[in-house]
């Protein structure tokens, strides 16, 4: 880092001052003023009697010199700001290793130091969170593995169990399943919020994505209607998870999905998922995307984790889009996901 040493000799201090931003500004203005005065003096002596001529000449030359110096100066002044802007953009996009380079300019040094220290702290915090997610994941998943595996073995031999034990086993399996999904969703949400992505975004065909998601969940392909295929820049697994959560939500609270459509509206892809259930009350239509909010839409007891829709909102936001809940014309709920088209789509 550049720091001025304790009491450098007089002439060196003068030199370092001239290299600093403030120094340069002062010198520039001083030179300009001096130059303009010189022009004034010269024109007065040369052009002598013509007062108006002298005045006009001075104004013209003076303004020109001032403008040139101003242009040069403004560029030099803005340059450090532009460097900071570029660095900030890179950091925001994920290149956490970016730092501003050391500078010899004593006026800029405090800014550079402060900026770099801020990024250091940010990076440390993100690393800590990443480690935490990993540790929690391991600590909770290990006992869950034993439970799931053992209960799986019991289920295979349930014929050997008396009726009551069989029912208890079914409950244990259901709750274990719930626990596992809760854990998966919580970790996925934590990662999504921290923008910890496990893959790069790639151009995806919305039609293919929806078709494969439906097929994987054994939905009839006739449910899907794609008016115009579109491409989004996205992460396959994250988008699949978001879609699955929306489908599950329709199943759990809306009696099942009745229609899925996809199409292009302007520069966005719009995906709609409809159910013909009781719909979502207007006052809840925004709340349901918050964590742990479950609204009892039907009489069935909730089997959801309360996080599914929060994850959808976070994922879609991370892809530059948004999701809203509204009413389906004819009854039921309609979830609309909009995302920007990838640049490759014309």
């Amino acid at each position: 880092m550049s720091r001025r040493g304790p009491g450098p000799p007089g002439h060196r201090r003068l030199l370092s001052r001239s290299q600093s931003l403030r120094g340069r500004t002062v010198i520039a203005f001083a030179l300009t003023a001096g130059l303009v005065s010189a022009v004034l003096a010269v024109s007065v002596s040369v052009l002598g009697r013509g007062v108006w001529m002298t005045l006009i000449a001075c104004v013209v030359f003076g303004t020109a010199i001032g403008a040139i110096v101003g242009l040069w100066l403004s560029r030099r002044l803005l340059e450090p700001l532009q460097r900071v802007t570029r660095a900030a953009a890179r950091i925001a996009s994920g290149e956490l290793g970016t730092r501003l380079p050391d500078t010899d300019d004593p006026d800029l040094a405090p800014t550079v130091d402060a900026f770099n220290a801020m990024v250091d702290s940010l990076q440390r915090r993100i690393d800590r969170e990443r480690r935490l997610v990993g540790d929690v994941s391991h600590e909770l998943r290990t006992p869950l593995t034993t439970l799931t595996t053992s209960v799986g073995v019991m289920a295979r031999h349930e014929q050997d169990l008396p009726e009551r034990s069989r029912r208890a086993l079914a409950l244990v399996q259901a709750e274990l399943d719930h626990l596992r999904r809760l854990l998966d969703d919580l970790l996925a949400l934590a990662r999504a919020e921290a923008r910890m992505h496990r893959a790069d975004a790639e151009p995806l065909s919305v039609r293919e994505l929806l078709a494969h998601t439906l097929a994987e969940r054994h939905y009839p392909p006739e449910l899907l209607r794609v008016s115009v295929d579109a491409t989004v820049a996205g992460r396959k697994l994250e988008l699949e998870r978001a879609l699955v959560n929306l489908l599950d939500n329709a199943e759990r609270h809306g009696g099942g999905v009745v229609a899925i459509t996809a199409g292009r509206v302007g520069s966005e892809v719009v995906i709609t998922i409809d159910d013909a259930g009781p719909g979502v009350a207007p006052q809840d239509q925004q709340r349901i995307f918050e964590r742990f909010v479950t609204v009892r839409r039907s009489r069935r007891s909730g089997t959801g984790t309360g996080i599914g829709l929060a994850l959808v909102a976070e994922t879609v936001a991370a892809h530059g889009g948004r999701v809203v809940c509204g009413d389906r014309p004819g009854g039921g709920a309609r979830f609309v996901v909009s995302m920007p088209l990838s640049e490759e789509t014309h």
């Binding site: 998943r141 290990t142 593995t145 595996t149 053992s150 073995v153 496990r198 494969h212 396959k236």
Partner: protein, 236 residues
Amino acid sequence: MTANLMIVEDDDRVRGALRLAMEDEGYDVAEAEEAEDALEHLRDNGAPDVMIVDLMLGDMDGFTCIREIRRDHDVPIIVVSARDDTHDVVAALEAGADDFVTKPFEIKEITARMRALRRRANQTIEPQTPQELVLDADPELPLVLSPEGGTVRRGEEELHLTLTEFRLLCELAETPGRVLSRSVLLERVWDRGFFGDERIVDVHVRRLRTKIERDPSDPVVVVTVRGLGYRLDVQR
């Protein structure tokens, strides 16, 4: 015929549960609590038909364990871990694992993957594949693939590929000059669908390159086609 399975897992209860489930599936199960025990077992008894190795082991970390196993054995290895951080997945695959499963898993899922791995081991190659395919016609040290013989040779020296690496190479070599997408490779080599983890393909291609290419940093046989997938180019 009973297949042999070795489970390398330091947590007693997880190991016990896994043993229970695998024996239920018909496997002959050997256990090891630590990497050292596993390596010793391999030295004394040879390699089992398939191995399940946990990444978080007590004495030696999972990656080192896998690398040690790979020094002498081709045995199919499935890695299990509670952590599914990209770094862990890639490191495990780079170290030599054939597949990666996150805990907790459905028993059906892991047994399906084990079956796929073992099927590859016993697979007989379809007759359409030529007897031998020269992949790099270097006059001194040609690279020759023999799908039926199950070998790859550089000159006189036989290269040691794992089952999965070999299978991947054969798959690419079946259609030289044609690009195969990661999805397709995932489907054919790992029996995985559209949403399979494509990192497995990328890492295996990387591993393959270090073994068969003359300059792995500048691959000419197994070529990346940006945005589309991979392609095998026969060098004449």
